[in-house]
């Protein structure tokens, strides 16, 4: 039957095995995604202990509720969505959540859309300070200080390597919103590095 083809896709077969409670399927999921989920949570929370707890609880919760998963997004997106939501809950609980649409570029241009001041270069004296090692350290430091809405998109896109659909599904946002967030996140990170 033509319509049965979808049931033979690797993702669907994997989901069937997960729903059936096959231990090997759950092990495979954790080997595939566990490390990425943990590193994402650590970078979101800045606290390895809390991140471990969140990933543990999220995965156990997913195990108990897998029957409700309808397959509208990938398993990977669903896992990241669960860990992301738990991390945001934890951040809100700690009252450290900063959800602001910082637009680092908004004051750079005049009414004609031209630069008001020259864009500061990373050459000359700055180049000595901003060799690759120093720049990596700065980016690392400043990323931890970005608002969470900025940090999460950079982590998922640049480090975890999720594609646009996976990130949108994980964060429950539109592709247009994602494009704006990624641009603002990079602009904020650049501004933070320049200003550091």
């Amino acid at each position: 039957m033509q319509g049965d083809e979808v049931h033979h896709s690797p993702e669907t077969a994997q989901l069937d095995a997960l729903k059936a409670g096959h231990t090997s399927a759950w092990k495979e999921i954790m080997v595939l995604h566990g490390s990425g989920l943990l590193s994402f949570a650590i970078r979101m929370l800045g606290d390895r202990g809390a991140a471990e707890e969140i990933v543990q609880d999220s995965l156990v919760n997913i195990y108990h509720t897998i029957g409700r998963f309808d397959g509208r997004c990938s398993i990977k997106s669903w896992l990241y969505r669960a860990v992301h939501n738990s991390a945001i809950d934890e951040i809100r609980r700690r009252k450290r959540y900063v959800d602001v649409g910082i637009d680092a570029e908004e004051n750079y241009f005049n009414e004609a859309g031209r630069w008001i001041n020259d864009c500061p270069g990373w050459d000359g004296l700055a180049a000595k300070r901003l060799d690759d090692k120093r720049l990596l350290t700065l980016v690392r430091e400043q990323m931890d200080h970005l608002p969470h809405t900025h940090r999460e998109v950079l982590l998922l896109k640049e480090f975890e390597g999720l594609d646009t659909t996976e990130i949108c599904d994980a964060l429950e946002i539109s592709p247009g919103n994602l494009r704006i967030r990624i641009h603002r996140a990079r602009a904020a990170l650049r501004a933070a590095v320049v200003g550091a």
């Binding site: 231990t23 759950w26 943990l38 995965l59 156990v60 750079y108 864009c119």
Partner: protein, 81 residues
Amino acid sequence: MVYLKCSVVVGKISEVIDGQTSLMTRMRFHGHIMMCKNCRRYFEQFKRVKEFAGKVTSDDLPPDFAHVMGFVMNEIENKDV
């Protein structure tokens, strides 16, 4: 035909470096970049930020998550828990 406003060019940088723009947009974008020192600098800095953002966690997060995995697998293997 190139973009005339620097603010428009800067707003498109992420889409350009992510390869999410049309050929026409890229031509208009790079046409402006060739002529505008400030936008060129900003573009180069954005590319470096993107490059380094991708390196942030790879070397400072221990890949060992056996503790987490062990806890979860224990829950799964003891299904009555």
